[in-house]
Amino acid sequence: MTQIDRRTLIGGAAATAAFGALPSWQARAQAANTVRIGVLNDQSGLYRDVNGPGSVACVRQAIQDSGITARGINVEVLVGDHQNRPDVGATLTRQWIDRDNVDVILDVPTSSVALAVNTIVRERNKIFLNSSAATSDLTGAQCSPNTIHWTYDTYMLAKSTGGAMVRAGGDTWFFLTADYAFGHALERDTSNFVRAAGGRVVGGVRTPFPGTDFSGFLVQAQASRAKVVGLANAGGDTINSIKQAAEFGLTRRGTKLAALLMFISDVHSLGLETAQGLVCTETFYWDLNDRTRAFTRRVLPNMPGGSLRPGMGQAGCYSAVFHYLKAVAEMGVPAARASGVETVNRMKAMPTDDDAMGQGSIRADGRRIQPSYLFEVKSPRESRGPWDYYKLLQTTPAEEAFRPMAEGGCAFLRT
């Protein structure tokens, strides 16, 4: 008995050693051919529906559509919840890069978090593909050679929505501004357009973020007698502002609301009865053309609840990953992982083209440009089915939609 035991023991030890060696050898071979993407966004708060798990579903769809695994390249996706707090976002980013060998930080809504991530990624020479944060500072005062700002920004929203409101006669403005980096940037950029078009900003309030009750601020807006109330906020803040503005009769008395950043999930939550007639600017709408419809059909089963239509932030994640993987396939994994700046430069050199966001290009300052679309929310009578919410009012060509590079003041371009 003892002999058998000993034999078993020795055999077991040998087997363990052999098996133990095998996976680690395999792991090394795999690691040499693996890129890691960390999706960092709001998984549990007010921005969850505009990015959250929907962004992750779009990333997985992009990996599948890119056909990169057939070339023997593995793509690993990590998901993190930054809870809209810059400290949490910064800690997760450091952990992912330093410990988990993550190559790309993706999505990152909430401008204050995005700006923190922007700095860390640049220090570590990795890649930051931002889809869901809006501040135009990411390609302006705080631009970085490691960052591409993919989907939209405060300048583009201000120009399209703000410009359209001023042209329609809304020449006096009052702002409800979410009190953090994003709100401040959106207010600043919109105010510039209003003034340039001959309008006036008669006042504004900075509202604590996130907020629930906006009635006190809306009454102040009404007292200012401004023709337009600019909502420099997003997600749940925008929904509550619009809902309560209707309740307090602002819109019925002729005041116009400018939802400077509104997503299709916000419209869905408000219902067409309340949201009808609002205008908003997006770079993606699921029902825009055959390609966007085809993309939506593919990704929809994996979206939250199997019914949430992707919004522009999520579609931007798809587009960014699709383009990044093209660069990885061309450069090879070791080269693509070696230097974030080099890979970003390669991405800038190639035009972008995918089903979700169509054709576009990436400028030297990291701004991806494409046409922006001004939509009006349909009335319940005009809507022909579920999620049929927008009609296209106007398209701004890619070259005019975003801030000219010279006006951004991006520092690394000068060196």
Partner: protein
């Protein structure tokens, strides 16, 4: 136009009124908390989630069963109150003999789980819920445009607070409750079923939260975070009023709503923190709260 402290008078009156309306929600929620704490000695951190459940049950009643606002106002608190009874029987009742901290941790955890479940099912943007047809429209008060629905909320909240106070202070069952709070063993000795009374008290406190949730559904976006946003403020209200003091929480609820409203005019950025500043000052001067017994 007349000005008070450099602010146009109409604007100031408007904010006072709106503060009172928000105060109505604070009062209703803190009332439930105070009742539960007074009786069970449990700090019910699930309260925010139960407020949210009230709003969601109202939404479900409308969309799945076609039961409108008025029905929901009655049925939603009953359903959510029943879940409260189950929670108390199966979990909270086991913690009465332990330190407060355990009850706090349990209810906090349950609250997070409930919010997570709703978030998974309904997402974060929320659901539309319309103001009932009878209460749509608004009064023009001269200094502001006052939605009829908000007026209704203040009136109902006041009636509800008064009714709860009357039940506890003036009825026989209320006197049992108060006696059981003081000395449960003695009350039990008189043949009164104290554990059942505690269960029902918890259920009633939870039902109050759900009632406030139904009231809030047409005003705020019905979303899983709606309770979490409010509950921290409500806890501050309860602490300022004095833990367990019913009258204290009602008065503090309304007055803090007003203070918050005024802050929105003078320094909007601080409107979410002003309540905690007040809390710090009150705790320094009167550690038991304004109406609490030390």
């Amino acid at each position: 136009m007349d000005e008070i402290f450099g602010i146009p008078a109409p604007l100031l009156f408007g904010q006072l009124l709106l503060g009172l309306i928000n105060g109505a929600f604070y009062a209703l929620l803190s009332l439930g908390l105070a009742v539960i704490f007074g009786m069970l000695n449990v700090i019910n951190f699930t309260h925010g989630a139960q407020f949210m459940m009230g709003a969601f049950v109202a939404w479900m009643l409308l969309n799945y069963l076609g039961i409108g606002y008025w029905g929901a106002l009655l049925i939603a608190p009953l359903i959510v109150g029943l879940t409260g009874v189950i929670l108390e029987r199966t979990m909270i009742a086991r913690l009465y003999k332990l330190d407060h901290l355990y009850g706090l941790l349990l209810t906090f955890g349950v609250g997070l789980i409930i919010e997570g479940l709703f978030r998974n099912e309904f997402g974060s943007s929320g659901m539309p819920y319309r103001i009932p047809a009878e209460l749509t429209g608004a009064w023009d008060l001269g200094f502001m445009f006052m939605p009829i629905y908000r007026g209704w909320v203040v009136v109902v909240a006041l009636v509800m607070c008064l009714a709860t106070w009357l039940v506890i202070e003036k009825t026989k069952i209320g006197s049992y409750l108060r006696a059981a709070t003081e000395n449960p063993a003695l009350v039990q000795a008189f043949g009164i079923n104290v554990p059942r009374m505690m269960t029902l008290t918890y259920g009633a406190g939870v039902a109050l939260a759900a009632f406030a949730g139904v009231l809030a559904a047409p005003i705020y976006s019905v979303n899983p975070q709606m309770g979490a946003n409010l509950i921290i403020i409500v806890f501050a209200v309860v602490v300022i009023g004095g833990m367990g003091s019913i009258l204290g929480s009602v008065i503090t609820g309304f007055s803090l709503g007003v203070i918050e409203g005024l802050t929105k005019v003078f320094y909007p950025e601080a409107s979410s923190t002003v309540i905690f500043v007040v809390m710090a000052i009150v705790l320094l001067a009167r550690p038991a709260g304004l109406f609490g017994r030390s």
